[in-house]
């Protein structure tokens, strides 16, 4: 028995060590108590940057903005679990940060810790994700509007003026905010316009391989289609792989329109080459918005609108430039 316990402890320790090594600088890091002259102390709680390319870009953006040179003393903590995030938040409040920046893993459970923050005079700014808590508990919330992203894309597609729309709709993981927003706009349009029809609508769970299989299945069945509406870049890539196998042309001026989301750099490069037609942005660059708000608060200004929706672009393969790729690619 003892032996097993020992082994378990060892295994756990090893796994944690591995996990930490993998996260680079995971865990809460902060120089507690010491306030450098004039530096604004911020505590940033984010999801694991390995979660997705989006998150990696988001984290990188934060790290670039909140530096000593820019006047910030920032500490970063990462977790995909709500309870761990809450623990980090408590620690940061104890460490007397000025601002708590939070991308919550889960929408619920934040009330008491945010109340603590408020009592301690810590400003709370939510980014990327909102939570189910009273708006009085935070100063601002910077989010993407997924439904708007969907609308932008569908409007773009409408403008293409096809005589008939036969769409393969590849969905993300069912129930996620991104999936709901991006599916919603298309569903509405298809229901409203008799010229628009769905050839198949299935989830590939953000996964390229599954998307490839879904499109392959349509090709194998011999049905015709002229639009691929994939809810992220990976799935669009999977779809294109299936098209290539069957020698179906795609891209600007070709048989099939390919649409993706998230603006991965490699995806924008595909746009630039004309292999894809459209890519919708899900803006990970929230740091500048946060900086704006912090500066307003520092100056004593009031924040008029608590919920700030970021600008999100949709890129057309015909108009995209190399600068766009470098600037917006993640």
């Amino acid at each position: 028995m003892k032996k097993i316990k020992k082994a378990m402890a060892l295994a756990l320790a090893t796994s944690m060590a591995l996990g930490l090594a993998a996260c680079g600088n995971g865990g809460a890091k902060s120089d507690s108590g010491k306030k450098d002259g004039g530096l604004i102390k911020v505590g940033i709680i984010n999801n694991d940057p390995n979660e997705s390319g989006y998150r990696t870009a988001n984290d990188k953006d934060m790290k670039e903005k909140f530096t000593k040179e820019n006047g910030y003393d920032a500490s970063f903590s990462y977790s995909l679990k709500n309870d761990e995030q809450i623990a980090y938040a408590k620690k940061m409040i104890q460490d007397e940060v000025d601002y708590l920046l939070l991308s919550a893993a889960d929408t619920a459970g934040w009330d008491s810790v945010l109340q603590d923050a408020k009592n301690a005079g810590v400003h709370v700014i939510l980014f990327d994700r909102t939570i189910d808590a009273d708006p009085s508990l935070y100063d601002a919330s910077i989010v993407s509007d997924m439904a708007k992203e969907g609308e932008t894309a569908v409007n773009w597609l409408k403008d293409q003026g096809l005589s008939e729309y036969k769409i393969i709709h590849i969905q993300g993981a069912m129930g996620s905010a991104a999936q709901k927003g991006r599916s919603g706009a298309l569903d509405t349009q298809v229901a409203a316009d008799g010229n628009w029809s769905i050839v198949t609508q299935q989830t590939a769970e953000w996964n390229a391989e599954k998307a490839q299989q879904i499109v392959q299945s349509v090709i194998d069945s011999g049905e015709s289609f002229n639009v691929i509406y994939a809810e992220n870049d990976d799935m669009a890539k999977g779809a294109v792989a299936a098209l290539d196998k069957a020698n179906i042309s795609h891209g600007v001026g070709k048989d099939v329109i390919v649409m993706g989301y998230d603006c991965n750099k490699w995806a924008l490069e595909e746009l630039l080459k004309g292999n894809w037609n459209y890519d919708g942005q899900c803006n990970p660059f929230q740091a500048s918005y946060i900086v704006d708000i912090i500066q307003k608060i520092q100056k004593g200004e009031t924040i008029s609108e608590k919920t700030i929706i970021m600008d999100e672009k949709g890129f057309d393969a015909g108009k995209i430039t190399q600068e766009d790729v470098d600037k917006y690619g993640i």
Partner: protein, 359 residues
């Protein structure tokens, strides 16, 4: 199902229903029958050029054979691990992410957009094999020497694996532009059948040869059934368990190569997601006891094809997204229940009774 074959050949039927491989074969036949009735064009195979101008085969059957490849290869390793250790490795999906990441790292070097390969693919593959086998050995040591439940032991890598994969490439997603890598996941010019199909078949042949020309089969089963007795017969149960995990590691590396080959890149967080569950399911569908012991490799391999057959069939039926996993679950439950010894005995009895009544 039982009625039709009773009349044709009683003894053959009896032998069949008692043999382990019966369930996956029956499942394949059932799916085939279903598709024949629903839409016979399911079985149509076309030949035509792909985007790079090769004449290639296409059609549902080709899709099934192609996409099942990784699962088939994993099922081989999973069967051995299950047999020897009486548990399953749930970290294979994460381990594929690691193996794929290693391949990309070696091929691209430090530049994630490099236009030419920094090393031959074979070198990248061999390094990936070594890494995957080391991670397999890590799992194996925990299971064999520290006597940790396989599911618990592999939970560690399951949790940490995808982060490790991301860390290997500094969180970047390199894309290989050299076309030769895509040969492993798609087509080799001039050959109309997808390469993964060949890789899977080669793996199956290799394991069959290994089982024939070594005592791996006898040793793993023996250790899985009765470890104490195996030890007294001169075996080293720990070493044999470790060996099965290392072999699974090798399978993981091969599957990783195919995965990377398919898109010339991978996404660490979703690549081969949930594939461990499908691999375990393949073993179970093959009628192998998940508690270890006796196994039938061919049945596991067929089990893997059954799963892909089922997936492709469901895609073809355009089952709505929300319901897809539910349908899959129902069919799987049905198959697993059918393969339970109790049910099969009852079935055999039923067949007997029917026969008697007819006589």
């Amino acid at each position: 199902m039982s009625k039709t074959s009773v009349n044709t050949n009683e003894s053959f039927f009896k032998k069949m229903i008692h043999s382990q491989i019966f369930i996956p074969i029956a499942a394949l036949l059932l799916l085939t029958l279903f598709n024949l009735i629903w839409d016979p064009s399911f079985f149509k195979i076309n030949i035509g050029p792909d985007a790079s101008g090769n004449q290639v085969l296409s059609g549902y059957i080709i899709t099934i054979l192609d996409n099942a490849s990784e699962l088939v290869i994993l099922a081989i390793g999973m069967t051995l691990v299950t047999a020897a250790s009486g548990g399953q490795d749930i970290s294979v999906g994460a381990a594929i992410a690691i193996a794929g990441s290693v391949i990309l790292r070696v091929l691209c070097g430090s530049d994630s957009r490099s236009t030419e390969l920094q090393a031959p693919i074979i070198v990248a593959f061999i390094i990936a094999c070594v890494v995957a086998m080391l991670f397999g050995a890590f799992n194996g040591v925990l299971v064999a020497y520290f006597k940790i439940q396989p599911m618990v032991a592999t939970l560690i890598l399951f949790t940490a694996g995808r982060s490790i994969a991301a860390w290997i490439n500094n969180n970047e997603l390199p894309i290989v532009t050299d076309v030769s890598l895509s040969y492993y996941g798609n087509f080799i010019p001039g050959i109309p059948i997808p390469t993964p199909v060949f890789i899977a078949i080669i793996c199956v042949i290799i394991i069959m040869l290994v089982l024939k020309f070594t005592t791996l089969g006898l040793y793993t089963q023996s250790v899985g059934i009765n470890e104490k007795s195996s030890r007294l017969n001169g075996l080293n149960p720990e070493l044999i368990k470790l060996l099965t995990f290392v072999i699974l590691g090798l399978c993981v590396a091969v599957a990783g190569l195919i995965k990377v080959g398919r898109f010339s890149t991978i996404n660490y967080s979703v690549i081969a997601k949930d594939i461990e569950m499908d691999a375990i399911l393949a073993v179970a569908l093959g009628g192998n006891a998940l508690g270890g012991g006796k196994f039938n490799m061919m049945a596991s391999v067929l089990g893997a094809y059954v799963i892909q057959y089922l997936t492709t069939t469901l895609y073809k039926l355009k089952v709505s997204s929300d319901a897809l996993s539910a349908y899959k679950a129902i069919v799987v439950i049905l198959l697993v229940v059918l393969s339970a010894p109790i049910v099969r005995e009852k079935l055999a009895k039923l067949g007997k009774k029917l026969k008697k009544k007819e006589a």
